[in-house]
Symmetry: C2
Subunit: 430 residues, 2 copies
């Protein structure tokens, strides 16, 4: 039985309730992997009377009681904005509590100061969720790429504007209509200013610069242009020339300084960033040893953000780095293979009736065909060729039985080949 | 001045010499970021007489002296294969030395056993470079996604076969010709069997299963089909139907077991894996909180692999996790902006000569035009419209000056908009 570590929450909104849910859903998994267990003891909220599932969490409207509680070892700050987050986080660190935050404004503006307070008090301050939502960008740049001098970071780090631009492009909407859609879908705030004018992106770029270049830039000094200048025409003219328009954050070592900007830019349609759709984020990182890497995933949302927050909480909780590898292996076993569409190639001799025989056998095995074609090359009296078939979803075991039978035909000139057809992302889920 | 940590190398081939180079090139950067410094003291090689830059490294043909040397704290194993790697790595761990390895065969087959030996001797065994080359996949799954139950991993983890398939597709080559090209480019061994028959991919999938599912599968038991069954026709028929063929490793929790296979599969051409070209690798990971993430980058090569190896070496070397954040910030400053192609939109009134005036001003500022178009809508006697221009590369400061001048024209009906055009990946790099 692993020790239970107490957590205090500053804020219990969307991401906070996601964290409560995630700790509960994945409790067993996290105990298996990291040998730690968490209990959320206390949460500071705005309104005590709001109806919510309490889950045994003590609620208050000021942080005093949470800060006084010795059992709260890790404080998770999910307030957003600088005030009162800066004060409450400082106090938490000074009370000897580790802090995990998802607050990009706080880290962009006061990161250095808060990290110093954390070090002075021998506690940690982690902020994986502040950039790129669920994508573990921060620890990747900090740890995974530590052997590299990072030369540039370029990417899409604001889900709201990427959602708006995707809708303008795919549904031929004007900027104002696309913004309304984003608000209706919950991807844009009622007041979307900080997202659409680039201020949010500049804060994230400031954090990335600290990690990549060990340099702090005031986010309000970064050259910045919003998406609110764009028209539907800009999108469609760009498309004519083979480009898509994306809101880009860019920082690069150049001529002894940093080339630094936040702007909607035209991206060639075969560029990896061009296909990042809706609320997704993606970051290209260029390291002097590793070359170009890309990280892609959900840049926002309740559970993706909670996933990043909880990874920081776990990192703080596990003292020993040997932990994760030493868990006893669960043996599960290989399952029955999933049904799938298949591409099948059958090498045949040119004999009458061969195609009929093949399709009959497939039919007998309940394998239904989506496309079929045959090509035969004559060679004097004889001939040979290929039958190609794309199936609808079929159990691979059934297909193998059918192909085994077909393989025995005297009309076959070689081994049948069957290749699985991968489904489009996410089609399988739910 | 940071302490100097001694390293011993088992193998000094391609990746080994890359590691020597990387430690030297990025020494200052690594000291800044992690406050550690390394010296390669000893290397075990096959042939003492081979001409190589010694860099003051003591060479021998057996590991005895290296193992006896107290100053060698970390052993880096770059031999490949199981014999003698297993014996030498075991001995290193038992001598109280940490080990970093890039050896997928060793970890796939003996990972559990070696990790146990490491734990028993209170040292660490890390293997980031064993899967995905320079992409930090292993620590991402282990640490970054630790709050998630991983539901599936799907990806391209063999650079050789991906290079072959890319060449078959893009240059209409047969399998044998494409293989020859891969060998000439150094991406395939003279004996390519383990790459093309899927054995290498199965070993990597076995390692991923251990990380994602805490389950060990014998890589030789994973259902596996090689790329050597493919013909040019398969590639082009797949293309006709909107698919590309890629060598895929797949593992997924399904019906209480794992759906597990290594096969060339058809991928819809708008799937993120479809655009992974040449020797690149990419892995899609689906976590129950974070949803789908993708990691993309160079899956092989001297410096990318050395980058992953060195990140493990640094992780072992830095005792305190507070290190990286506490380095003093270097202040560099924002540089002059880089020249770029731009898309410019100019809202105009329908007056005679306006287009000529605009293009004349651009010419006076040495801004050359790649495309220009104008569209005017008549509205009774008056009319208004847009001039759209795509420029060749231009200094943004120059462009701003020109646009400022144009903005003053009485023929303008609104603010000019200028958007940067991002270049295709890597075009900027040498």
């Amino acid at each position: 039985m692993s020790e239970i570590i107490g957590i205090g929450l500053l804020g219990l909104g969307n991401v906070g309730s996601g964290l409560v849910e995630l700790i509960s859903t994945n409790r067993e998994h996290i105990q298996d992997r990291a040998d730690v267990n968490f209990k959320i003891l206390h949460a500071v909220v705005k309104d005590l009377n709001k109806v919510r599932q309490s889950n045994g969490i003590e609620l208050s409207t000021t942080p005093d009681k949470l800060l006084a509680e010795d059992d709260v070892k890790i404080v998770v700050e999910l307030l957003g904005g600088v005030d009162p987050a800066f004060e409450w986080v400082s106090k938490s660190l000074k009370s000897g509590k580790h802090v995990v935050t998802a607050n990009k404004s706080l880290i962009a503006e006061y990161g250095d100061e808060l990290l110093k307070i954390a070090a002075d008090n021998n506690v940690r301050l982690l902020y994986e969720a502040s950039v790129g939502g669920g994508i573990p960008l921060i620890r990747t740049i900090q740890d995974g790429l530590i052997a590299n001098e990072i030369e540039s970071v370029t990417g899409i780090v604001n889900g709201t504007t990427n959602y708006i631009l995707t809708k303008m492009e795919e549904e031929n909407l004007g900027y104002a209509e696309a913004l309304k859609l984003a608000q209706a879908a919950g991807f844009a705030e009622p007041d979307p200013t900080l997202d659409v004018n680039g201020a949010d992106v500049a804060q994230k770029l400031s954090i990335l610069c600290r990690l990549a270049f060990s340099t702090h830039y005031d986010s309000t000094k970064i050259p910045c242009q919003g998406v609110d200048i764009l028209t539907q025409d800009d999108i469609s003219v760009a498309e004519e020339f083979g480009y898509r328009i994306k809101m880009i954050a860019h920082a690069e070592i150049l001529n002894g300084g940093h080339d630094l900007w936040v702007e909607p830019a035209l991206i060639p349609s075969d560029h990896p960033l061009a296909n990042v759709r809706n609320e997704n984020n993606a970051l290209l990182v260029y390291g002097n040893a590793v070359g170009e890497l890309m990280f892609y995933g959900k840049g926002a949302g309740r559970l993706p953000t909670a996933s990043a927050v909880l990874s920081d909480v776990i990192e703080i909780a596990i003292a020993s780095p040997l932990h994760t590898d030493m868990v006893e292996r669960k043996r599960i076993g290989i399952s029955e293979l999933r049904s799938s569409n298949f591409y099948v190639r059958l090498p045949i001799l040119d004999k009458p009736g061969v195609i009929g025989k093949i399709t009959t056998v497939l039919g007998e095995h309940q394998i239904s065909i989506s496309h079929a074609s045959a090509a035969i090359r004559k060679n004097g009296d004889s001939g040979f060729g290929q039958v190609r078939i794309i199936t609808h979803a079929v159990d691979p075991a059934k297909l193998n039985l059918a192909l085994k039978e077909i393989k025995g035909f005297p009309e076959m000139s070689g081994e049948p080949v069957a290749l699985r057809i991968l489904e489009v992302n996410g089609d399988r889920r739910n």
